[in-house]
Structure formats: structure tokens, C-alpha cells
Amino acid sequence: MMQMRRGHHPRPGLPAVNLLSDAAFERLTTRRLRIRYLLAGVALVALLAATWAVQHARVAEARGLVAVERGETTRLEAETQTLAPVRAFVAGVDLQAQTVETNMEAEIYFSEVLDGLRRASPPSVRLASVAVTTATAAEPPVAGAAEAVPVLSACPGPDPFNTREVVGCITLSGTASSRFEVGELVVNLGDDPLFVEPFVSITTSGDTAGVEFSGSVGLAREAYSKRYGQPAKIVAETVSP
């Protein structure tokens, strides 16, 4: 700057005399610099303050919104808490419904089983005794338990290589006019969807006319009432008598 001042041409008509030393010019320059830095510092501080103020306002606004949201949380929690007994009641009833369904799903309409036996019996056949036992009788299903365990069926079948699912076993005995009638009973039982694997274990000719017989027949899944849902599949194994 000093160089520039030195390079200035004197104004025409006026004398150009500069008596200041270089040190004085330097001090003047330094002073101007200090003033500029001071002004820059003030401007910087003002900028920082403005930025802080804007941010502070945004923070305050955000915290206000958080406070509003938390107020909503409190209200929602209070209402949820008020209705908590309803939730417990509904959950309890749902669990009870599941328990009823699980425990009753193996229900069999035994009246229909007897009706099926009567339909299958030729006129001369008289049933002397019938015993029906369900495969799940030993261990009724429990809610939440795994599927029914495999059951060893006491129901013998005519085909040991092609055993079918048996949900119950009927052992029966009676009298018939002839073995032909007994065979007809076996055929009729085999044709009825309620029954599977009919098997007569003995026929004997007694003192009276006709024959006495005893045997067994399995109950198919169709025997389930199904009003409580579909029961789990039962894996049955047939054993020889």
C-alpha cells in the first residue's frame, strides 16, 4: 500500500509532500487490519449467535412436538391400560375355545356307529355284544401338545401289508343263520365309509341253528363328529390277534 502511495502522482496544482515515515505507514496499516479483524470477529460472533438462535428455536420447537407426542403417549397408555381387562378376557376366552376344540376334536358320534352296524347287518344277524373303543382313549389330547402319538391298534385287519388309519376299534360277536350271512356282514362293513378293515376271527357252529361269530372292525376318520374341528391324524399299527 505504501508502494502505491509512493507511486501516486501529485495532484496538479498542489504540492505533494509526505513526511510520514515507513513505520508510521506500517502502524496505520496494522491499525486498519486490526479494525477489520475486529469487525470480522463481531460479524462472526453475530453469525454464530444468529445460527445458535435459529437452532435453539428449532430445538425448542422439536422439543415442544416431542412433549405433545409424549402427552399423546400418556393418553394412549392410560386408555390401553383401562381396556387391559378386556384384552385379558378375550385372550382367556380364546384360549378356552382352543382348549375345548383340542380336547373334543376326537369326538365320535357313537350313535352313528351303531346305526352303521345295524345297516351293515343282514336280517338274520343278531349282535350279541359290541365293544367300541377309540384310539385316543388312553391319552386324550391336551391343548398345546404335539400331535397324537402313534397308537397301537388292537384291531386286526385282513391286509397286513396295507393297514389303514383306524381311529377306533369295534369288537363284536353275534349269531347268524349261516356263514354266508357273516360274509355279507363283512362285505357291508367294508363298503360303509364309517368302517375299515372288518375281520371275523372265528365262526362256530353251535348247538342251535346257525353260526356264532366274533370279530372286529376299525373305525374310519369319517366317524369323527368334526364339530370341534379336524382331529390330528392318528398313526395306527395293526397287530395280529
Partner: protein, 211 residues
């Protein structure tokens, strides 16, 4: 470098400006940015939680409006699986089933309900098995009758239509001296289940619920 020279002034001034900017950024502006970020995070979390709570509340209000239906279901379940053995009700129902099938009271030979046993208890010690919920008790009920084949079939049909659930597990019948008469024994399981407390009947609950 002399003290008070323009170069020194530039150096000191620039450093001071830098110091002011750094201090302002670190001590004033930075915390505000952090606070804003925290506030926004808190707002998002709170909004998310509110969204979940609102969803739960909507579900609860829906359940509350359907409380009447749920209560009817509970009553229906209680009829199937009553809260006690309800022996008078059991005897009445079995007798009605027999009479409805044409089997007289004399031919209803026996009704034998065993005491209910809580499911999940050790049959020897009677203590609950670890991990099992004492939600259900079972009782074996055996009924013996005498009647014709048709009467026996109708009796079984009536038992199946009883309000109380009866899981028949075995039926044995054998012909007697009379060609048309059979002695029949029906065995099965009935269940006893404690009722779920109704929120409207709770004494310490003053809320108003729909349904």
C-alpha cells in the same frame, strides 16, 4: 516477524477468528445441532410408539365393542366345560337323555362320575407337573343302561346333543336273556375348566365398556 506488523496482525487476527469460529461451533452451535438431532430422534421414537399404541387401542376398542359376543362365547364354553363338576346338572342331563330315548329311570342303571383331576398333575402324588397350566380338569363318567338297540342308539344320540361336552371313549353293550334287550355301558370324559373373569363383573373396575 515483528510484533504489531501487518503480517503478525494477519496471523493473530486469522487465528483469533478461527478460535472464535471453532469455539462457537463446538460450544454453542454443535450442542444445539446435537439437541435438535436428539429431539427429532425422540419425536420419531415417540411417534412410532404412539402408532403402535394407537393400533393396540383400536384393536382393544374393537374387542370392547364385541364384548357381548365374546361373553356369549364364554357362556357357551362354560356350558360345555363347566367350572365345577356340576353333579346335579349332570344327573339331570343324563336322566333326560335316557327318558328322551324311551329308557325309564329304572333302566338307567348307574351314572358314575369320578372326581375331576386337574390335567398336568402327577396321578400318584397329585402335585402339578412342572410347566403345565392348571387350566383344565378331567373326570371320567360312566353310564350304564338297559334297553333295546334302538333305545341305546337314541340314548347315545341324546348324550351327543347334551349341552355339556361328553367325550365318549368307549361303548360296550351285550345282549341279555331277552333278545331285544342290551346292557350298555358308556364311558367317557367330561371336563371342568375355571371361567375367565369378566371385566364388567370386576369389583375394582369402574370403567365403562361397550358390548
Amino acid at each position: 516477524m515483528r510484533r504489531g506488523s501487518p503480517a503478525t496482525t494477519n496471523l493473530v487476527g486469522g487465528f483469533c477468528l478461527f478460535l472464535v469460529a471453532a469455539a462457537g461451533g463446538l460450544l454453542a452451535i454443535g450442542p444445539e445441532f446435537t439437541a435438535l438431532s436428539d429431539a427429532r430422534t425422540a419425536m420419531v421414537e415417540t411417534q412410532d410408539r404412539n402408532s403402535v399404541l394407537a393400533s393396540q387401542l383400536a384393536s382393544l376398542e374393537k374387542q370392547s365393542k364385541r364384548l357381548g359376543e365374546t361373553r356369549r362365547t364364554a357362556l357357551d364354553l362354560e356350558a360345555k366345560f363347566p367350572s365345577t363338576a356340576d353333579q346335579p346338572g349332570l344327573f339331570d342331563a343324563v336322566t333326560a337323555s335316557a327318558l328322551g330315548a324311551g329308557i325309564g329311570a329304572d333302566d338307567l342303571i348307574s351314572v358314575a362320575p369320578a372326581a375331576p383331576q386337574i390335567a398336568g398333575t402327577d396321578p400318584v402324588t397329585g402335585l402339578p407337573v412342572e410347566g403345565s397350566a392348571a387350566l383344565l380338569a378331567r373326570q371320567t363318567v360312566s353310564v350304564s343302561i338297559s334297553g333295546t338297540f334302538e333305545e341305546t342308539q337314541r340314548f347315545l344320540e341324546n348324550l351327543e346333543q347334551m349341552t355339556r361336552a361328553y367325550l365318549v371313549t368307549s361303548v360296550t353293550f351285550a345282549g341279555g336273556e331277552d333278545a331285544d334287550s342290551y346292557a350298555t355301558t358308556v364311558s367317557g370324559t367330561m371336563f371342568v375348566m375355571p371361567p375367565v373373569p369378566d371385566p364388567m363383573k370386576s369389583t375394582d373396575n369402574t370403567m365403562t365398556l361397550g358390548g
